[in-house]
Subunit: 195 residues, 2 copies
DNA sequence: CTTATAAATTGACCGCGGTCATATTTTTCT
DNA sequence: AGAAAAATATGACCGCGGTCAATTTATAAG
């Protein structure tokens, strides 16, 4: 079994993460360059890759943590009572993902990982998200608000599909259709969740 | 206005395209390297980029043409009479896109471009595809087969969303769930298109 | 035919993600 | 404490997409 990491390693990792987060917060994910990170952190390039595998590995850790934060908020808020309220709950997460194509691309790459590799933060996030959707839907089905002819799991997957769809659309028309994604998704939810 | 390209330029372009297509057919899109293409075509690197802008530009031309071929087939076939038959019509295109992540990623990047830049082949392909879906749906609504409470355009967009969803899922679970995408999409179509 | 002008091509060069044999530091063992 | 072993860090190096000032080739003008 692998030995616990030494203090030095944890410090190096923390340094790399904090430098990277600062760059992301000030310049966005697209501007993140590994060479900048290692230079500002005062470590060698190889060290970066021994910690995170590749650039996506770093992004996975940082973005995964942020996604988890949004999921915490969603779970803390009262359960939505309608498609419109579901769209409301999604707003912060959608705006976060919509702000940068790099975020969307990275999340999408993991958006179907429901099986193996559950160690990945992002995978856990997706499972949690789908589970949460299914919980919302299931409760609303019981109250008679949503269609009851379809399993909550399938409906939840569909919500995920629409979510990715409006995000993808948003990235394509650079300036046209400035409608926020949470608004764009509503027509789909109303048609998909209500019978 | 720009002058017509010279014969030499057309030959160079054709050579680059044929070499690239051969590599794609034998080794797949992921294995396509610009340096290989220019070497096999006997042309300098800069020439490649003066023709296609970037690597994606080349892929756009080649994959766009192939997608158009699939759309031709779909339009030639008799109009589908049910969600299951819609899934049938989608099968060749879905299998094509599902064969390589690079194809999926590239198509997705253009999948919402309905406004400007209509000169792009892929954009035209998407518009054509959505229009075709809407046509199918509209006809089936008139026959009473599909739900008539929702505009064909919105239903067609939803089909597109599910299509991308099952493809994304397919790429995530490397080996598990070997179900072909056309089969995976059916439950969604039945719930989305029928009331 | 010669010269000016535009089109097409060239290849040295750069940026940046990623690798790996080597060096340094920390831990373990006697 | 000192030696062996394991963990960590290093930086020269590579692959490959992409750039651009300079060169060659084709077309138009005199």
């Amino acid at each position: 079994m692998p030995r616990a990491p030494q203090k030095r390693r944890l410090e190096t990792r923390a340094k790399l993460l904090s430098v990277a987060e600062e760059i992301i917060d000030t310049q966005g994910c697209s501007a993140l360059r590994v060479e900048d990170v290692v230079e500002k952190a005062g470590v060698a390039k190889g060290t970066f890759f021994s910690h995170f595998g590749d650039k996506d590995g770093l992004l996975t850790v940082i973005l995964g943590a942020r996604v988890m934060g949004f999921l915490d908020e969603m779970e803390a808020a009262p359960r939505p009572q309608s498609p419109a309220e579901i769209a409301d709950r999604l707003t912060p997460l959608l705006n976060f993902v919509a702000q940068d194509r790099v975020i969307f691309d990275l999340l999408l790459r993991y958006s179907g990982t429901t099986g193996a590799e559950v160690d990945e933060v992002i995978t856990q996030g997706f499972i949690r998200q789908i589970t949460m959707f299914a919980g919302w839907i299931s409760a609303l089905q019981a109250e008679g608000t949503l269609r009851a002819d379809t399993a909550p799991a399938l409906l939840a997957e569909g919500v995920q599909a629409f979510l990715n769809h409006v995000l993808a659309i948003g990235f394509c028309m650079e300036h046209a259709d400035k409608r926020p994604p949470a608004e764009a998704i509503l027509p789909y939810l109303e048609r998909w969740l209500v019978r």
